[in-house]
């Protein structure tokens, strides 16, 4: 598809699809230098576009009438529904017709579809979702954010390698510091997985700074936080909820103290600064590192802004050559750290 980078977006993925997804794609197309392919039910997508008289310059629609919903078992759904919006987008990527896939639907189906269509980078046992977490200093990459609920130490080592390359190439950190999420700083503390992973990481040539605790994540002392996908996902969902919990508590307290409402008005720029710092929309989506392609997974609640930012991030990822760097790191280590 020419010199432009081409990105497929799952038009049906996410709680606010297709509307917010299509709007986000239209906004991304306006930035120029990028072609977009919307996969999804052509009729629904075209009707949405024509009802709103949206410009489709640079946007192609590829019909994919099946939908994988959030409650379906990912692996079987992706096999069964070969005409689903996720499966079609992945196929376009495998065939080289697009350079990246962005989707905010069923995370498990995005992972399963990536593995089935694209496969893994050589030597990588499991891909990992790399989430950007805002911190007091610069942001931190936390992985795995939920692709693998049971992990072995060599998985965590590979997450650390991939996360380091990503932090170096995408966030421009030199010698990214890697921390292992555990419960106690000493290498002897933690569970069996973290104790064994600690040893592997300490022997690696990564800039491994040791164990870190839940309370250290926001300090921003490390560039990469490594954990299994179960812990990573629990923590991320917890993080999301605490923000809305604090918001709701502030509102409740404000009802009791009327003068505080005037105060809140004066503090509006403060709250909006806080909101944007903690808002996942700014980061748009999280790359699935370790697959032989470029896949960005968006938050289920993705708005047009989140979709647009995910598209732009996936373009940067394609341009960065991160996968080639992961590939060459893995080649250097070939044969080591197998099960």
């Amino acid at each position: 598809m020419g010199e432009h980078i081409t990105i497929a977006v799952d038009a049906m993925g996410g709680d606010r699809a297709p509307g917010e997804v299509v709007d986000g794609v239209v906004e991304a197309a306006r930035e120029g230098g990028i072609r977009l392919v919307l996969t999804g039910n052509r009729e629904i997508v075209e009707k949405y576009i024509s009802d709103r008289k949206l410009s489709t310059a640079g946007i192609e629609i590829v019909d994919a009438p099946e939908i994988i919903d959030m409650s379906e078992s990912p692996a079987s759904a992706i096999r069964r529904k070969s005409r689903s919006s996720i499966a079609v987008a992945m196929r376009l990527h495998r065939e080289g017709k697009v350079d990246a896939v962005v989707g905010a639907g069923n995370t498990g189906a995005m992972v399963a579809g990536s593995l089935l269509s694209l496969g893994r980078l050589p030597g990588i046992k499991r891909p990992a979702i790399a989430i950007y977490v805002p911190t007091r200093r610069e942001g931190t990459i936390l992985l795995d954010g939920g692709a693998n609920s049971d992990c072995e130490p060599y998985n965590l080592l590979q997450f650390a390698i991939m996360g380091s390359v990503f932090a170096e190439e995408f966030l421009k950190r030199s010698k990214p510091a890697v921390g292992l999420l555990s419960i106690g700083e000493e290498s002897s503390k933690g569970n069996e997985l973290t104790r064994n992973s600690h040893q592997l990481l300490a022997r690696s040539n990564l800039n491994f700074i040791g164990n870190m605790e839940g309370r250290d994540v926001f300090k921003g002392d490390v560039d990469v936080v490594v954990t299994d996908g179960f812990v990573g996902n629990v923590v991320l969902k917890f993080m999301e909820s605490i923000i809305s919990y604090i918001n709701s508590m502030i509102k409740e307290e404000m009802r009791r103290y009327p003068i505080s409402r005037l105060g809140a008005l004066m503090m509006k720029p403060v709250f909006s600064g806080l909101h944007s710092a903690l808002n996942y929309e700014e980061y748009g989506g999280a790359p699935l590192l370790g697959v032989n392609g470029v896949v960005f997974i968006g938050h289920g609640g993705s708005s047009r802004r989140a979709v647009k930012n995910a598209v732009l991030a996936s373009r940067r990822f394609v341009e960065s050559g991160i996968n080639e760097k992961i590939r060459s790191k893995m080649e250097k280590r070939a044969g080591d750290h197998e099960e």
Copy 2:
């Protein structure tokens, strides 16, 4: 020691010991109806008391010159240092000289000391730290908060049983709803531990409502959240840090918008309401459920207020007869659910 309930407090435990601990104990003693035993370095404790001319009515000091610090390996330290403030307090409890132990020092040493001196309730394989988490509705009990970093499904079942009894007797919830912390609501989602634990919990006669996600904790829909001590501890420390992170962000944003400072002044009661709702001092300490005794573990940063509240909570625990109820629940299930 008479009709009063007697509680031993580790005078040397916590970052602010002995000062804040002694102050908290003095305040608790003032409430009446309670005797207190401070275990620790007699010289240091007596000097602190005499320097401040504190009243020692109802307070006894038992000399325990050794200290287990935060970085020591808990199990070996507790064995090696039989004259440490934790070991002495536990021994007083085993000998029936006190009814409960409160300590804010090395958590692992508190757990190891409890197991060594008091042992477990019949049938209980592993004790668990039950943490009170404030929510949008009433609070929730989360366990295990960090006593066991690797768990088996029957451990989680026992945590659920103990947590239910605690929620019923201590928080006065009838038929406490139990949720299993996982990553996805379906029973098929999660890691190996949660999938297998889900089956055990579903077959139990607990009021098990199924899996819950990190984002559900603050909703307060359940009375008891069950998880392994690794995940529980990561989440709790993460929760603590996000509050100070948000505080620091608000302060930083305020520097950029001077008028917001006036707003902040007007919002002061709102912030202080928020602070007290999220402040662990209000809850003082967390019970170690499953040991054959009453042990409350305080936060390492415990203030006098936290110490006092932990003492009062441990008294309520003694009076509640929770251990007898756990014992009888376990007898009914005797022989089942072993490894």
